[in-house]
Subunit: 480 residues, 2 copies
Amino acid sequence: MADKENKKKVEAITSMDVDFAQWYTDVVKKAELIDYTSVKGCMVIKPAGYAIWELIQSQLDARFKATGVENVYLPMFIPESLLQKEKDHVEGFAPEVAWVTHGGLNPLQERLCVRPTSETLFCDFYKNDIQSYRDLPKVYNQWCSVVRWEKETRPFLRSREFLWQEGHTAHASAEDAEARTIQMLNVYADFCEEVLAMPVIKGRKTDKEKFAGAEATYTIEALMHDGKALQSGTSHNFGDGFAKAFGIQFTDKDNTLKYVHQTSWGMTTRLIGAIIMVHGDDNGLVLPPLVAPTQVMIIPIAQKKEGVLEKAEELKQRLGRVCRVKVDDSDKSPGWKFSEQEMRGIPLRVEIGPKDIEANKCIICRRDNGEKVEVSLNQLEATVEQLLVQVQKDMFERAKAHREANTSVAMNLEELEQILETRPGFVKAMWCGDQTCEDSIKEKYAATSRCMPFEQEQISDTCVCCGKPAKKMVYWGRAY
Amino acid sequence: MADKENKKKVEAITSMDVDFAQWYTDVVKKAELIDYTSVKGCMVIKPAGYAIWELIQSQLDARFKATGVENVYLPMFIPESLLQKEKDHVEGFAPEVAWVTHGGLNPLQERLCVRPTSETLFCDFYKNDIQSYRDLPKVYNQWCSVVRWEKETRPFLRSREFLWQEGHTAHASAEDAEARTIQMLNVYADFCEEVLAMPVIKGRKTDKEKFAGAEATYTIEALMHDGKALQSGTSHNFGDGFAKAFGIQFTDKDNTLKYVHQTSWGMTTRLIGAIIMVHGDDNGLVLPPLVAPTQVMIIPIAQKKEGVLEKAEELKQRLGRVCRVKVDDSDKSPGWKFSEQEMRGIPLRVEIGPKDIEANKCIICRRDNGEKVEVSLNQLEATVEQLLVQVQKDMFERAKAHREANTSVAMNLEELEQILETRPGFVKAMWCGDQTCEDSIKEKYAATSRCMPFEQEQISDTCVCCGKPAKKMVYWGRAY
């Protein structure tokens, strides 16, 4: 039984270079992050997956609170009439919501949709909660699940129900709203780079790609290992559009009635998909230490020999003061245990056997690059702490180098076509600002404008598509 | 404007003795715990309310994890056919679920209900996830929201959507399942008593009151200030009933196929209602320090005088190392600020003015009993730490004394009737074990059997209702 189980677990997964999509599916299953369910398009997030989400949540939430965010909880249902109040918004979401039509045994008087996002509910709430400039700003956030009836689904990346946070704020002025929109985008970018070890491009979405109902949408875009982009977080400035649709007014200091200015911003369990696709390799998941539920796995060698398990337990006690650590004392062979620890992406492995104990040392092996070091047990805690910091840093640098190696520049349509057909990754190219060119590139090459980055470069003077004078440099790419 | 707002906030609330239900509604609104919404029967949990829930969540979750619980997330939808697999369960829940019939623009092939509880989903998941005795036990929990289409709703106590945790476990033997059921009931009881300062009776529900599909339901019952009971947490042992309905089998050590034994256990945002009704008074909310988002409010006196606000800020910095503390430096009068701090239930108030500063002292006032002490600023941190412990302890003792003063004993039907008509609280009385007697008491006096307590007493030999030989002592009472 044990052997059969082990074999299943460490069975070779599809190589990323052979079939990246299949590799991804293999990893989410074999690292035991998710399971499929009887509910089409919905998934079970298993303990190994959910523990990553808990680490994302707690660290992101602390960053939110440091900027004055307060958490709340609003209903999961939206009455149809409420969803319809803002024209662009309802057009964007109505085709993909789930409708509740019966409560208990009775039909409802009005259909309710399961929230795909909660702008309309927050507006309905703010309408009564905000009276005076003294009530502003409101900087609220909620952690919840939302539902979007997607046709094609993939674990973490696109599912009919997913977990996220959605921040919704209201401000006295357009300037305050814009400042908060950018502030939260920066929180997202710093979180991705510092915690997920994932470099991102910050920029603004084109009008074609912006959120339904937003005046401006800002985004952080990351590059996956296969050269496709992943939108990893968005922050929207709504101006006073929703406020006018819902009648959210306040009495300002000058005693006149004004509309509030609003923002919203969200990040989702899709980030777990990003972690997999940025850092993973042919042996499975590779977790950045800051989001690794287990940071160090101690694997005893010849564990039946006297004193080995006791020593492993002693090291666990010592390391428990500086990191999240476990001992694998199951009756599997060390080889199987190594494969499992690798598949699960645990950043460091400590190997300890009778000879090591005799020599007062152990072996530490890094998951990210396979490097092994021999360490005196006297230096154990210090070395592990230092290695965890180093792994986190190296993973970021490696991902950044990968992105840079996979970012091209196109001066004209010929170059753009040649790059998109032969090289994965981002393409930087100039754009005239006309949606016709954007549509044309999307139609021809299945590539979309990812963003107009904050860090603009003057690559050329003319639009890559039509040759007219260029207004903006845009990152283009195929995306998840 | 400021005056109008303040007035609204500290306006006298209805006295508890005049109208307890109205007092409750006033408190949840004026302490800004909730707001009503356009979605009938659903509420907004505002920052002051949600912050209490976050403190409940983090402390309860830590206690779960200490017993080996792992968190997961399952879909919010249940296909109708899945809900129907266990007969008693579907009968219990089908009349009160919300049904999703359309996804996007298309009708669904099969209706989905929004989970009222997730036994059926966990069973469907465990069916594939459990193969061998090595996979057991599974001790999973999820934090989520659930929906029950209630007709009458009240904030926190009964709403169509509420937040909770639901633990679902699977075990190799009946003994293991029973042990886990009791273990989690004890976690709940300890949490209520130690963290919420709320004494509870632990016991078993009668068959009439048990959970739909359970073999045994255990409960903790608390007594509210008005003498009504509140079921505060339940833990169910399902035996192998669900396992047989869903086909959840494992290969045991002896190489035979066996059914697993399952449990589930849950606690909800209803606990916030319990905190309000156990500890609150005519000045508003009274929060136990361990679930108070702000534990100490510093209120400067004559704050426009030189050095006062600076001193208040300095004290906040110092106290920030030992507790959750804020300064109220708004432009309201100290009197208004006192009322607000009291309404919000903040356990301690520190008053500091020019004369105090000169004398190197401050006043600390306890929310729970109004006691004021003068404290040397040299002793500030130590005194606050000690007072927070004392308040937590005293609140528990006071609630326990209240429960004891409101627990009666009835030897026969006449006494039971007299007590239920004249005195609020629990009534202890013997029961023959026959549901007819239970039905009869419920029908005549609107009182239900709360539980058969673990701590049995032999009050008499005969059933309080029918006079036949008694089997169990039962706590009876009217309940929320």
